[in-house]
């Protein structure tokens, strides 16, 4: 389970930053080294036409939430048809739970140079 922890670190950093911004850096209580349980939720953000993190490794059963921070709509579209969101306007989210192990490539169907990958296993 070392891979999922590594994958979560950028997210944790981001949450720390958010918390710091929101609470003046006094309420930083995000657990940095928590092991992800199977039922975890992991977040991916879209900023400046980029998925971050672009590649993520999660345990089966993990729910991934994508949130669009751009002023332009984007979609989360699986390359093999496993999932496809509606167009996400600013701050809209899309959620998908990955039950089966495998590698899931996805992209934005409006701006196909935007690509990402979820590895489940």
């Amino acid at each position: 389970m070392s891979e999922p922890i590594a994958a979560l670190r950028p997210l944790a950093r981001r949450m720390v930053l958010h918390a710091a911004l929101a609470a003046g850096a006094t309420l930083v209580m995000v657990p940095l080294a928590r092991r992800p349980a199977a039922a975890d939720t992991v977040k991916v953000y879209i900023d400046n036409f980029t998925f971050a993190p672009a590649e993520l490794t999660v345990a089966p059963g993990t729910t991934v939430v994508w949130t669009n921070h751009d002023d332009i709509p984007h979609t989360i579209t699986s390359s093999d048809g496993a999932f496809k969101s509606h167009a996400l306007d600013t701050d809209d989210s899309f959620t998908f739970t990955f039950e089966k192990a495998g590698s899931y490539r996805y992209f934005c169907s409006l701006h196909p140079h935007m690509v990402g990958m979820i590895k489940v296993g």
Binding site: D47, T50, D71, I72, P73, T90, R105, L110, P112
Partner: protein, 321 residues
């Protein structure tokens, strides 16, 4: 418009210095003419420009990227700037034969956005408006919202052609069925249609192609190009005058390659950064008093017998010529 517009370094058929000189004037009241693949720029108030305008029997306007429904910081009132663009068109000395809208009419493909755009655009004093969709117009239902309104008499996802004053116009759709990691895409069915559409035309017929995403590779890192454009342009190689009008990148860019002149228009909604100068290609926030200098319309005229089209960009804050 900005006087810092850049061109691709691989331009041929014209010296980089002379093209850059032309481009310094782009959008600031300069008439752009294209003769035999070599662009010349003339001050719009010059006698030659006046003569060219008088002799011109065909004048049309391009409008692009109105993004009705967008209401973010880069422009909280895109309806007002579209109205201003319409007023700008209606003040042109010559009434345009028609208007081309090169896509992203709406921001989110919502029926209310299409309706509002139609309400504003019906005030344009012209015969008709031809539309091709941008990716923002086909967000849902395989582009039904767009096709229900503008698909009449078109093929596939909205591609079509028509003739006016001896010029053959081709509207292409390169915003649907996009593939992961790719760019804009025309697709096999549309390319076949294009090949047969131009097969019967004589090589001396001036061609105008209009589509949303640029048909030349401007900045692939931001998706600013069309993967199968070379095949489409291959079918047009035998023609002496080809003008390609695009939108999508919300700024003026021009390039001449052989007999083909490429041009992208300003948006009426918000500007986008020059390639590679920002983290991404999203809306660019500028001081309120500069916004209307970066939004605008494009005026195109054709002079019979001269085989050249004049392309002039007008910023919204520019006084009428």
């Amino acid at each position: 418009m900005s006087n810092e517009t850049e061109i691709e370094p691989q331009d041929d058929g014209v010296g980089r210095r002379s093209l850059l000189k032309c481009m310094l004037w782009a959008g600031s009241g300069v008439l752009w003419t294209i003769a035999g693949g070599v662009p010349r720029s003339l001050r719009i108030e010059s006698a030659e420009a006046a003569n060219a305008a008088a002799a011109s029997s065909l004048s049309f306007l391009q409008i692009s990227d109105s993004h009705i429904g967008f209401a973010k910081e880069a422009n909280p009132d895109v309806t007002a700037t579209l109205r201003q663009a319409v007023e700008r068109i209606n003040r042109m000395p010559a009434r345009p034969a028609f208007v081309l809208h090169t896509g992203d009419i709406t921001h989110l493909s919502k029926p209310g956005e299409f309706d509002l755009a139609a309400e504003v655009l019906k005030e344009v004093r012209t015969e008709r408006i031809h539309y091709v969709p941008g990716e923002h117009d086909v967000l849902e239902d395989d582009g039904r919202s767009f096709l229900d309104r503008y698909g009449q008499g078109t093929q596939g996802q909205g591609w079509h052609s028509f003739d006016q004053n001896g010029v053959h116009f081709i509207g292409l759709v390169n915003v649907v069925n996009l593939k992961a990691g790719g760019l804009g895409n025309l697709g096999g069915e549309q390319l076949e249609w294009l090949e047969s559409d131009v097969a019967h035309l004589s090589a001396s017929t001036p061609i105008v192609v209009f589509a949303h995403i640029p048909l030349w590779s401007i900045y692939p890192d931001w998706g600013w190009g069309t993967s199968d454009a070379a095949q489409a342009l291959g079918y047009l190689k035998r023609f002496g005058s080809v003008t390609v009008l695009n939108g999508h990148i919300h700024q003026v860019m021009q390039k001449v390659e052989g007999q083909v002149a490429f041009h992208t228009a300003m948006s009426t909604a918000f500007p986008q950064p020059r390639p590679g100068t920002a983290k991404g290609p999203g809306p660019m926030k500028v001081p309120a008093d500069q916004l209307r200098h970066l939004l605008g319309i494009t005026d195109v005229s054709f002079v019979p017998g001269q085989g050249r089209l004049a392309v002039v960009d007008h910023a919204l804050d520019q006084p009428s010529a």
